[in-house]
Amino acid sequence: MNEALRTERRFRPAEAKLTAKSSRWRNQLSLQSMVWPGLAFLLVFSYVPMYGVLIAFKEYDLFEGVIGSPWVGFVHFREFFNDPNFLNVLRNTLAINLLGLVLGFPAPILFALFLNEISSKRFKSFVQTVSYLPHFVSWVIFGGLMLTVLSPSNGALNGLLLQLHLIDEPINFMAKTNLFWFIMVGMEMLKGIGWGAIIYIAAIAGVDQEMYEAAKIDGANRFQKIRYVTMPAIMGTVVIMLIFAISSILNTGFEQVMVMQNALNLDVSETIDTYVYKVGLSEMRYSYSTAVGLAKSVVALVLLFGANYVSRKISDSSLF
């Protein structure tokens, strides 16, 4: 067989062989020329900043650049750990993100399950359409709307509570340090619940209807159908989404916090991200703020491994 092929090839006109080869070569060249600009782009805009993280271990000098600046080791990290803001900033970052994960992650799943139980098609699609809406509004505007609702002078929430005689005088919600984290998480849930549910709604729609019929014949009621048919069917999607949520932990909330932060709640609203922004770009302490950002990434990595360990212990599934 091989022999035959080789013989055939030998008898092919040399020219045809050459054009076939050169056209394959030309094709490859076109394909490579499509992809290379993308790689060059990522090299500049993603890999160069990653390399720039080195300045966390240096004393960055504008004129010397990343390479020329002198090494200083862990000086900036030590400075951060001794910074009076350190514990506060770390606590706020962990609190907002972990609360957001614990309360915010199950919300779209529950929403999808409950929405699926609505029998009226029109009401269902109306609820769905409305629930996507906040996702398309910027954090500035969504935050602005929330500030309006929560305002002590003419906010609707204070108006309602006063009307119901639950309070005697308006509450300045954004100055209440014990409420701030919950307001953050509540906003995030309201903004993301519908959009986050899309994927679960699709997963639920993909469940084989015969399974429900079979469960019904076995005498399952509604909750048992959810528990034993729907839940297992969407579990795969849930796990994947959880992986995504955990791998971006500590990265959410920057834009949101920037909008809601004010002088009265600074104690509970300053997170690592906002701190890096202020110290890095406003005070121009480049090396120090890069070290702070890097410390955050390390904490996130520890959390990721911790979550992985726990998930492996209590269930079979783990990320790696």
Binding site: M50, I118, R222
Partner: protein, 296 residues
């Protein structure tokens, strides 16, 4: 037909109330803002204007649209959205097409190099220093160039391109078409749903983003509308000076303006384009999410 237990009925009622509550909680803030924006400023300060304006006026909107700074901010936002989306879709789809072809040598390594950047990020300060070095700081292109390629969108497009039957591409090749021609004349027209979805996502991103402007620009001529809003929303002195300036521009209506109502009118004016078009486009958005979820 089906006999419903009373438990079932209670659950249905509870569920309907829950969904209605979510709808209310979502829509009410928009409605309050709309009502406030149409209410006279001085009257709004007296409080308890919630479900319907007490003194209806268009003064707040007139003030918003007579302010030169706001006009310029809209101009920046519209420009960055149009230019940004076109370049993002063009560049990302080109790379995605190359990556979707099985014949591409080194494809696996390229994919690893690209996906690595989805999980690791240098942070804002190293990024800032890079932009400073290459002259992107305080330049309009800082809104455009860094967002030209998104690996996530690239993967979505790539997996869509791969669903195009190979024989179609092969037959075009036999007819003598090169890869670029196949990409532009064959693959792109067949991929409209995914291109539309990506363009919409990217359009919303550009319309809504203020972070890049806040971090990387200081010139007021580059201020997009969201950053302008950000200043007004977070600083009462900025809101006050805006309202005073608007009041001096239209003295006969100055009493109908207040920092609060002006702010609301601006928020409504900025969100309106999205609110108006989004119900018609939402099926594309949803499709985009679902295409992304099966990327594998």
């Amino acid at each position: 037909m089906r006999i419903k237990s009373s438990g079932d009925r209670w659950f249905n009622a509870f569920n309907a109330v829950l969904m209605a509550a979510i709808v209310f909680a979502t829509l009410a803030p928009f409605w309050f803002a709309l009502v406030g924006a149409f209410n006279s400023g001085l009257d709004y300060m007296r409080g308890s204007v919630y479900f319907w304006p007490r003194e209806i006026t268009l003064a707040n909107f007139r003030a918003v649209f007579s302010d030169k700074t706001i006009y310029h901010a809209y101009y920046v936002t519209i420009a960055r959205t149009l230019v940004g989306v076109v370049l993002h879709v063009a560049f990302t789809s080109l790379v995605a097409y190359g990556m979707s072809r099985k014949g591409l040598a080194g494809r696996k390594i390229y994919l690893v190099i690209m996906m690595f950047t989805m999980f690791f990020y240098g942070g804002i300060v190293p990024t800032y220093l890079l932009y400073k070095e290459i002259g992107l700081l305080n330049h309009f292109l800082v809104f455009i160039i860094p967002s030209m390629l998104s690996v996530w969108d690239m993967i979505i497009m790539m997996s869509f391109f791969r669903t195009i039957p190979e024989p179609i591409v092969e037959s075009a090749k036999i007819d003598g078409a090169g890869e670029y021609r196949i990409f532009v004349q064959l693959v792109l027209p067949l991929s409209m749903p995914v291109l539309a979805a990506i363009a919409l996502f990217n359009g919303v991103y550009h319309w809504n983003s203020y972070m890049d402007a806040m971090l990387f620009t200081t010139k007021s001529s580059l201020e997009p509308v969201q950053l302008f809003l950000m200043r007004i929303v977070t600083s009462s002195s900025a809101a006050l000076s805006l309202s005073q300036e608007a009041g001096s521009n239209m003295p006969e209506e100055a009493k109908k303006l207040s920092p609060e109502t002006l702010k609301l009118a601006m928020m409504i004016a900025t969100t309106a384009p999205i609110l108006v078009i989004y119900p018609f486009l939402q099926k594309y958005f949803v499709k985009g999410v679902l295409i992304g979820s099966v990327k594998g």
